[in-house]
Amino acid sequence: MLELDAVTKRFGGLTAVREVSLRAGPGEIVGIIGPNGAGKTTLFNVISGFFAPDEGRVLLDGRDVSRMPAHEICALGLCRTFQIVKPFGNLSVEDNVMIGALTRLTSVSAAREEARRVVALCRLEPFAASAARSLPIGLRKRLEVARALATRPRLLLLDEVMAGLNATELGEMITLIRSLHGEGVGLIIIEHIMAAMMRLAQRIVVLHHGEKIAEGTPESIASDRRVVDAYLGEEFVLADA
């Protein structure tokens, strides 16, 4: 269970995230939407330990992890992906995933087995031996998820893993996220593809200029006046209607 208590993050004079409070229960899918520059990725960086918040606290299962380094937060069961994917380019897809698995498993052979399982789960088998840098963007996004999954997170933060995917890939990604949810993994998802978000999220949080302007079920968000003005636009309401 993740709790953000009035988290603020500033860069010099710019307040990227202002007093954002948020909860994500175990096994829940929470969506975060908002225009570019709204502070979504900064929020992920604060939660996952890459930035310490200037004010407020991040609690994981009641424990204050605000100043904890990223690798320790991962060990506690919270793992994140990067919007701009960061594959270990010169290593094979399987080795990429195995490095994630080695966080929980000390034996290389056990981690290798786990990596094969996760690679299969994410349908990356045909590319298991390919160098990660040779993959097209859609597969790189999937590798990003696979690698994070291999650390066996209870809570997974996905930063725009659907951006740039074609329709087939998008469908596969949604299936994968649903199956993770079915296994009890909690998810916080940043995404611009509203169609996917409406289908996946149980609750959506809207950020605008670093502040939370709305929170609620996908239906209530889609009809929220402030959200339509700040982010979705009139076309979305018309198309939806």
Partner: protein
């Protein structure tokens, strides 16, 4: 076994050579090839596997050379004890520089390591009471195994061969162990590694410290072999560059790369020096120019190094044969 084929061939040939060839000059070259290969292998632990490209590894080499030489002259201690002391001091130095330069990447890290080696050069050449200053330290020759005094070059070949093998095995371990894979992650992308639960800072410091200790052990043996420690040589940037160069030309992050690089560079240097030994004074440094050209060619055309390049070709050929 197949993945060790190159190592078996290389070290096997080195082991058999003294049985066939008794020429002193040739055996001396063999000792140097193995020695510089071993130091580059030690460099590779940090520079190759952990991606911490240092151009100041002569600092650790010098620490090993000085520790044993000073302990032998001042305390009449065995060079083996000096080797141990050197490794301890180098580990500490590696921890300090690893910790201080932890956030530095790429060229900035390399510059920090150069600065570190130059600080040690100044200390060693100026602190006369402690190190005998810029005149250097002659290493006393006392025959015997315990005192590391071997008159025969053949003994040195086998001793340095053992060192080279040990460092080869350390690298092989790094290719297959948990920490080795985690270091590869840190090398490829540190942010991603941290997000996946890898304590990257700690692992980098450990890799540098281990690399420093191994480099220091090489330094001790080298000083005992040559019989003299000159601060301007053991702490030189030239030497640091040589350590990095062998590994880069042979193949960074491959266990045999440093040895293949050393075979090429050391024998080339020896040959060129001999060939150009009786030309006019102005041209004595010409081997350095050839050296430099070779480096440019390798880095431009095969950045993965000779071992890396051949490895790829062999794997591609096998795939082709199967298909």
């Amino acid at each position: 076994m197949r993945r060790h084929a190159l190592a078996v061939g290389f070290f096997g040939a080195a082991a058999l050579t003294p049985l066939v060839i008794h020429d002193g000059f040739f055996l001396d070259s063999l000792v140097l090839i193995l020695m510089w290969g071993a130091v580059s292998g030690a460099w590779n632990v940090a520079g190759g596997y952990a991606g911490q490209v240092s151009l100041g590894h002569s600092a650790f080499f010098g620490i090993g050379a000085y520790s044993a030489a000073l302990m032998a002259t001042r305390l009449h201690a065995s060079p083996w004890l000096g080797m141990l002391a050197g490794a301890v001091v180098a580990t500490a130095a590696g921890l300090v520089i690893g910790y201080l330069s932890n956030r530095l990447k790429g060229p900035y890290f390399a510059l920090a390591t150069i600065a570190f080696s130059q600080v040690l050069l100044i200390v060693a050449s100026r602190w006369r009471a402690f190190t005998a200053g810029s005149e250097g330290v002659p290493v006393p020759f006392r025959p015997g195994f315990w005192t590391l005094g071997f008159a025969s070059k053949v003994s040195w070949v086998y001793l340095v061969l053992c060192l080279a093998l040990a460092i080869y095995l350390v690298q092989v371990y790094l290719e297959r162990s948990r920490i080795g894979y985690q270091l590869a992650g840190v090398r490829e992308d540190e942010d991603a590694a941290q997000a996946l639960g890898i304590p990257s800072r700690r692992l980098k410091v450990r890799a540098i410290a281990a690399s420093a200790a191994l480099t220091s052990v090489c330094g001790t043996l080298w000083a005992q072999y040559v019989g003299f420690v000159d601060p301007f040589y053991v702490f030189s940037v030239d030497l640091s560059v040589r350590f990095a160069l062998n590994a880069i030309i042979g193949g960074v992050g491959t266990a045999m790369g440093p040895f293949v690089g050393s075979l090429l560079i050391t024998s080339l240097e020896t040959t060129l020096r001999a060939v150009f030994s009786d030309i006019r004074g102005g041209l004595v440094g010409i081997y350095l120019i050839i050296y430099g050209c070779l480096l440019i060619v390798v880095v431009r055309l095969i950045p993965q190094g000779l071992v890396g390049w051949f490895g790829q070709r062999i794997r591609a050929a096998r795939r082709y044969a199967r298909a």
